[in-house]
Symmetry: C2
Subunit: 126 residues, 2 copies
């Protein structure tokens, strides 16, 4: 059995980094509890715990852009995981970008450094 | 000015992912508060907030394996950052591995998938 330390954070959630398994692009960071982690292992699709909705979240349940999990990596402290994924639809961010990290800090401001892959209004409705 | 949401987590800390700027390898995840983030921007060296020691932490202050920050990426929710770094010494993990994520889940167990770069006993003393 795998030992993971879900109790380290005060809210019992552990960060999970989703990384594109081919390009190495970091797509997003979300949180998992034991249920979300086990559901991910069981189904091969990335599940998280939504902090805003306070419920289990199958990534892509609205957009269809699920993440097929190819590998799961665990860190030395057993309090963070990486899902190495194939991102269906090519974009992880609900704003239509490949990665949620689509902006970089430059001279004290944020600059967009990625192209939009889809229009959120079309995917999620207005 | 950059808006970052340090207040989202109950402990006022935000996850910061360190990623090797050349290979794309995710090296580690640690936490930052505003002080650690600003110190990183100011010095170009990755600073975190140590949760175990409850103090500002210049990564590499003991080992010399500092992280030279080349770019900082910010996510859509402004509650997570990526430090794209050059890892001095080649290894980020205190256990001597290139990445803290040196194990993967395989058939319900953790398997080491990286080589050790240094011997922790030599670097940190016994």
């Amino acid at each position: 059995m795998i030992t993971l330390n879900f109790e380290k954070a005060t809210d019992g959630l552990m960060p999970a980094i989703a990384q594109d398994e081919k390009s190495g692009l970091v797509l997003m960071l979300a949180y998992v509890n034991r249920e979300a982690f086990e559901k991910t292992v069981e189904t091969g699709k990335a599940h998280y715990w939504s902090r805003s909705r306070n419920k289990l979240w199958l990534k892509g349940e609205s957009s269809g852009n699920v993440q097929m999990v190819k590998d799961i990596l665990v860190d030395c402290d057993e309090d963070t995981v990486i899902y190495r994924v194939e991102q269906i639809g090519g974009a992880a961010c609900h704003l239509g970008y490949r990665s949620c990290f689509f902006r970089k800090v430059d001279k004290g401001r944020l600059h967009i450094v990625e192209e939009k892959i889809f229009d959120p209004a079309e995917v999620y409705g207005k």
